[in-house]
């Protein structure tokens, strides 16, 4: 466990040492800020709305996360593969799973810090109105969960290559696919998509969170996706043995 935390600390420091973190963080804050103040179609804007709600923010923030988080995770393993430091890392007395978890946790630190900064929006609402605290908490829990799933997918793509750009692009495609393309494809393929397939869509699973509802099934879903990506990343790291 110590090794996981040590690695997470190093990864988080390295993330915040690079300009990518600040670019990604700024993009997220600007986009969520725009969503917050003006809504997604300009109609439900903060200044005119009678409702003290963060729903537009929660509904569209996953879009932004799907784009910025692969940029944060792209270096996690790819950079170490390229520079050769991976060889030193995996020959320390730690397991490959610990390495994957440490790296994911470090990236999660970035996500948590970035989301914490957006707390300014609910605070603004609270100063002028009376927001539903439950809805705010539900939305944030949802963003943390879907963000973790995106991070885990991004980490997985980073283990596939020593090229960070390749890791980013594949990670981006994977995240956007799970967020929205599954939905769109299902609608194209079926008049009434089977529920089982619909449940694969991040969007379907995130819906309740955006409405402020924490449903344990949605929680389990995002944790399961993250766990699968973690296991796949561990296998990917181990694949050096049988190549």
């Amino acid at each position: 466990m110590n090794a996981v935390l040590t690695l997470a600390r190093r990864e988080m420091a390295a993330t915040f040492d690079s300009p990518i973190a600040y670019i990604a963080g700024s993009v997220f804050l600007v986009v969520t800020g725009l969503l917050f103040f003006f809504g997604y179609d300009g109609s439900a804007d903060f200044f005119a709305a009678r409702e003290a709600t963060l729903r537009p923010l929660f509904e569209y923030a996953p879009w932004t996360l799907a784009i910025i988080l692969p940029a944060v995770t792209m270096r996690l393993v790819a950079e170490e593969k390229k520079s050769g430091t991976l060889e030193l890392l995996v020959t320390l007395p730690v397991s490959d799973l610990q390495i994957v978890l440490g790296k994911l946790l470090g990236a999660f630190g970035f996500l948590a810090v970035t989301l914490a900064v957006t707390a300014i929006f609910p605070l603004m609402i609270a100063s002028v109105g009376n927001p539903d605290l439950g809805a705010v908490i539900g939305g944030y829990v949802g963003l943390l969960l879907i963000g973790t799933a995106f991070l885990a997918l991004g980490l997985l793509t980073s283990t596939w290559t020593h090229n960070q750009i390749v890791a980013f692009i594949i990670g981006l495609l994977l995240c956007v696919f799970f967020w929205t393309a599954t939905d769109a494809l299902l609608k194209l393929a079926f008049d009434r998509p089977p529920v089982a397939l619909e449940l694969l869509s991040f969007r379907t699973q995130f819906d309740a969170f955006a409405k402020g509802v924490i449903d344990i099934r949605n929680v389990v879903y995002f944790l399961s996706v993250s766990a699968v990506a973690v296991v796949a990343s561990t296998y990917s790291l181990q694949s050096r043995h049988w190549k």
Partner: protein
């Protein structure tokens, strides 16, 4: 979690045992059955030309890779069965010293120590000790990217010996350094050898001669020699290759001359190497003998009317040594 706890067993116990290691990358065979032992307190030199399998052997020893077949045990622990234990016993400096360039020396070494599970109080002591051992005291606050190659190498050594490992594995520790740095790092390795078992790889025979007690030579994925330097040089001394450049007398063909050279007493092999065009066109022969036959060859050439343009001992470059040893092994 220190490794010094396991008692030093008998005087020269086998610390590392490598048995019939085979490593197949797709279609390429990197190792074709490598076996050797390393005993406690030894500095063992793993010698071989580029691509011979030195790094692959080391990567398997350090559990970075798994052998296709064969076994490695380090201090009694099988590298495949219990890799974490083996990693605790080893300190490893990979080829070309990969380090996190963006980290400060002190922070980097603390990070490595924390990954090795040292408690906080002991961690700072261990880092300070490692820094003292490699002579990095004045550079603890530098970012690794600011250091010269020689000092980066010291950081690499410091991370390898931070946990006072029983065994150090150093992959080409002096490659890419300037001559002064090479001497410093060699002295450091010799110093470390007093308290550690070390395997170092090199393609430089002189380096191995200066630093190592024993040599294992790998060529094309096989061990072609294993012994002390004295034993090895004894085997090499039995061969004295010389190079002869002749402007042949009129009427003598290259093959005739080679045949005549071959028939000189003591010559084991003589062949035409190539024709040199400048400054004067002449033919180069390579002659192998059990003794230094330069005087006899010169006398023979004078008698035959050949003009000697070149006559020298062939320096034993590494490739030549391997060839000699491989031929030995086949004979």
């Amino acid at each position: 979690m220190t490794q010094s706890s396991s008692p030093q067993t008998q005087g020269a116990a086998t610390v590392i045992a490598v048995r019939d290691l085979v490593k197949q990358y797709d279609t390429k065979t990197a190792l074709a059955g490598v076996s050797f032992d390393v005993h406690a307190g030894e500095i063992m030199g793993l010698l071989g030309p580029n691509g011979a399998g030195k790094s692959t052997t080391m990567k398997i020893l350090t559990t970075f890779l798994t052998a296709t077949s064969g076994a490695v045990t380090v201090d009694g622990h099988d590298a495949q069965v219990d890799p974490i234990k083996v990693r605790e016993i080893l300190g490893y400096l990979p080829e070309s010293t990969p380090l996190y360039a963006d980290m400060v020396v002190w922070d980097y070494l603390r990070y490595v120590g924390a990954m090795r599970n040292y408690p906080k109080a002991e961690l700072d002591k261990r880092v300070a000790e490692a820094i003292r051992m490699v002579g990095l005291q004045e550079y603890v606050g530098f970012q690794i990217s600011q250091l010269s190659k020689g000092y980066r190498q010291r950081v690499g050594l410091a991370q390898a010996l931070l946990h006072n490992p029983k065994v150090l594995i150093l992959d080409e520790p002096t490659s890419g350094l300037d001559p002064n740095q090479i001497i410093e790092i060699r002295n450091l390795i010799r110093e470390l050898g007093k308290s550690h078992t070390i395997i170092l790889s090199s393609h430089n025979l002189a380096e191995v001669r200066q630093v190592c007690d024993r040599v294992v030579i790998i060529h094309r994925g096989k061990v072609v020699a294993d012994g002390t330097l004295d034993e090895l040089e004894g085997r090499l001394a039995s061969s004295h290759p010389i190079v002869v450049g002749l402007q042949l007398a009129n009427g003598t063909s290259k093959t005739d001359a080679a045949a005549q050279l071959q028939s000189l007493a003591g010559v084991t092999k003589a062949l035409v190497s190539h024709e040199a065009q400048t400054p004067v066109a002449h033919t180069i022969f390579e002659v192998e003998a059990q003794d230094d036959l330069r005087a006899q060859v010169a006398a023979w050439a004078a008698k035959q009317g050949h003009v000697v343009l070149e006559l020298r001992r062939k320096s034993m470059d590494l490739e030549g040594i391997f060839q000699t040893l491989t031929q030995d092994a086949q004979a």
